[in-house]
């Protein structure tokens, strides 16, 4: 495969494995989020061993790897749910050393967890605004009185922006289909994460039709200039939607491919370590 040949016309991603941080030349300007040399252990288990990667604005990167390769842990470090032992996460020009979920949200990182983290008894509207509620002004603000009208309007708009249509945002989430729930979780993540969208197995629990819905949504999000990183086991589907495929094995990024032109055998080979594993400079990129 020749360099750049299979790439979508997106801003040039930062070469993976190289340090990316504030003020490091033009490459860093085109980086929405970058992790560099992340180490993390859980007791005796070394989940991450110096994992590094970067995602550019508007780029869709698929993170693949066998079970236990460290994909989910890396994603949790990126969204502040897990604090790394070493290494750093930078968003745009900012480094946030030890994030919390709220910190990450303030940096414009939105996450769609594998279990979606939606409250089933609450409505779509309430789920989208939970933790970010709009209150009425004046004295009613002191009492914490909700401005439901404003929230309904904005939530509706957020859903429409992504082309998601629901009969009403007042519907409780437990009445929605799997695809609709996924769509709500994505809309929420995009609403509060203006820069980066992280998705953990977004289509694992979905049927074919609903997987298509989510795939379209992810493309739409990227079209709005948001960097997307998605973990998935569904390699054929991932190759179809992503610009780049990054392979993790044993806690480190071992290989990456431009999505166009790559074969599934190549990806699986890298996942299983059948090719020579080299850290840096192995990417087929100019």
């Amino acid at each position: 495969m020749t360099p750049a040949e299979g790439m979508e016309p997106v801003p040039a991603p930062t070469p993976f494995g190289s340090p990316v941080g504030p003020g490091q030349g033009p490459a860093s300007l085109a980086t929405a989020i970058a992790v560099d040399g992340i180490w993390k252990s859980y007791g005796h288990v070394q989940a991450l061993r110096g994992a590094s990667l970067a995602v550019a604005p508007g780029e869709i990167v698929a993170l693949v790897g066998d079970n236990g390769a460290g994909k989910s842990t890396l994603l949790k470090v990126m969204c502040g749910a897990v604090t790394q032992d070493a290494g750093r996460v930078s968003v745009g020009a900012d480094v946030f050393p030890e994030g919390t979920v709220v910190d990450a949200q303030l940096h414009g990182i939105g996450v769609v967890y594998q279990d979606l983290a939606l409250a089933p008894d609450l409505s779509v509207l309430e789920n989208i605004y939970l933790g970010h509620e709009i209150l009425l002004s004046d004295w009613r603000r002191l009492l914490g009185i909700l401005n439901r009208k404003a929230m309904a309007g904005e939530a509706d708009e957020a859903l429409r922006d992504l082309g998601i249509e629901l009969p009403t945002v007042e519907l409780p989430v437990n009445l929605l289909s799997g695809g609709q729930r996924q769509a709500v979780a994505i809309a929420r993540a995009v609403k509060w994460g203006r820069q980066v969208l992280l998705l953990d197995e977004p289509t694992a629990a979905l049927g074919t039709r609903q997987t298509g819905i989510v795939r379209d949504l992810v493309k739409e999000v990227a079209n709005q200039g948001i960097a997307v990183l998605m973990i998935s086991h569904d390699i054929p589907a991932v190759v179809e939607v992503a610009h780049r495929v990054v392979v993790m094995r044993q806690g480190a990024v071992v290989k990456e491919f431009a999505a166009k032109g790559v074969t599934i055998a190549q990806i699986v080979g890298a996942m299983l370590g059948e090719t020579t594993v080299q850290g840096e400079g192995e990417a087929d990129r100019g």
Binding site: A117, D121, H132, L146, G163, E165, T168
Partner: protein, 367 residues
């Protein structure tokens, strides 16, 4: 969007009013109907239909005020996925501490004594709630176990403070002006206050961020945490709220009888939890009905009073409340198993949704 022109979604300013049905799975008027039926039944069965007299209604309201208060407090806790079974002991401890203050202050005028003692009652209840919340949120003890422990602690503490004897010497003005007084001569004062509390609690649940977050905590604690909801702060407020309800119930004790009731209130928590669950609050969190809890608690009181009036020994009251609780929860279990919706309006909505979905083929499909 190819098909968006064929299906017009409802306007956002005219949403399907769905949340009300969902929040209290059993509509409030159903429980109200059961309450009325029970009153009528006992009225017919009671000698000379005495249960249907105005005085009997006033007694019922007065007897119910404490249980309703606890029912509403516990409904909020249940809705957030927590529990407090020590509310009865909290009533006793609050009335003891508040009563001691009133007795000690009695020399400096009954007005000041009552005011300060009343505040101390509520503050004691809230403090007990704060203690429980610390055990639950900091020591990570399950709230059932935590309140099982505080049930013992508070009962013992009340006995230690009083030496096992009920406090006497509470200013009579408290009873005269509040405990047995009536608003417009009809509504007992304590009941009027409790009614106001229920109205405020209803607004708190539906209209405020606190209410929304309470439901979120019970619906999915994990989702609430990841959304950045300050879980500890909310739980602390919830336990203190329920504790304050118990504290005020303690004040009602003092005002009705001008003494404490050390040996009483053993079944108050049962009646309150039963009331909340009968009223449509989910035992597993995520769903609260404030008015349902109030009316459900009244049902427990109607049963208790009604059985006395028709001449059954008081032992049967407990059995009746227990049986009704099991009946209510099991009925709810069946309805939940069938998709949380025996209500026709819900299933109709679901059908509508399905039809929409089918006609649209995909949600969010791009044209």
């Amino acid at each position: 969007m190819a098909s968006s022109s064929t299906v017009t979604p409802p306007q956002s300013d005219k949403p399907l009013h769905y949340s009300r049905w969902r929040r209290g799975a059993t509509p409030v008027f159903v429980i109200l109907g059961v309450d009325v039926f029970a009153v009528l039944l006992f009225g017919v069965l009671s000698p000379a239909h005495v249960f249907l007299s105005v005085q009997s209604f006033k007694d019922l309201a007065l007897d119910g005020s404490q249980t309703v208060l606890l029912g509403v407090g516990v409904a909020f806790l249940l809705g957030a996925g927590e529990l407090d079974i020590s509310l009865g002991a909290n009533i006793i401890l609050s009335s003891v501490v508040g009563g001691k203050v009133m007795v000690a202050m009695a020399g400096s005028g009954s007005g000041a004594a009552i005011a300060l003692g009343g505040i101390v009652c509520v503050a004691t209840g809230a403090t007990a709630g704060l203690f429980i919340s610390i055990v639950v949120t900091r020591l990570r003890v399950n709230s059932f176990i935590a309140t099982l422990a505080t049930l013992g602690i508070m009962t013992g503490l009340a006995d230690v403070l009083t030496g096992g004897y009920d406090i006497s010497g509470i200013p009579l003005a408290l009873q005269r002006n509040f405990g047995i007084a009536s608003l417009f001569g009809v509504i007992p004062d304590p009941f009027a206050v409790v009614l106001a509390v229920v109205i405020i609690a209803g607004a708190l649940l539906r209209r405020t961020r606190f209410g929304l977050r309470t439901l979120a905590l019970g619906s999915s604690r994990e989702a609430a945490v990841r959304a950045g909801v300050p879980v500890r702060k909310n739980l602390t407020l919830l336990f203190m709220l329920a504790g304050s309800c118990a504290g005020f119930a303690g004040l009602i004790d003092l005002s009705r009888y001008t003494t404490t009731n050390l040996s009483g209130h053993t079944t108050d928590a049962l009646a309150a939890i039963a009331g909340a669950v009968i009223g449509g609050t989910s035992l597993f969190g995520g769903r609260i009905s404030v008015w349902g809890a109030a009316l459900g608690a009244m049902l427990a009181v109607i049963l208790q009073d009604g059985l006395v009036v028709v001449g059954l020994p008081s032992f049967y009251q407990l059995i009746a409340v227990g049986v009704v609780l099991i009946a209510a929860v099991s009925v709810r279990g069946f309805t939940d198993a069938e998709g949380r919706s025996t209500l026709r309006v819900v299933s109709r909505l679901q059908e509508g949704l399905k039809a929409r979905k089918d006609s649209k083929e995909v949600v969010g499909a791009r044209g």
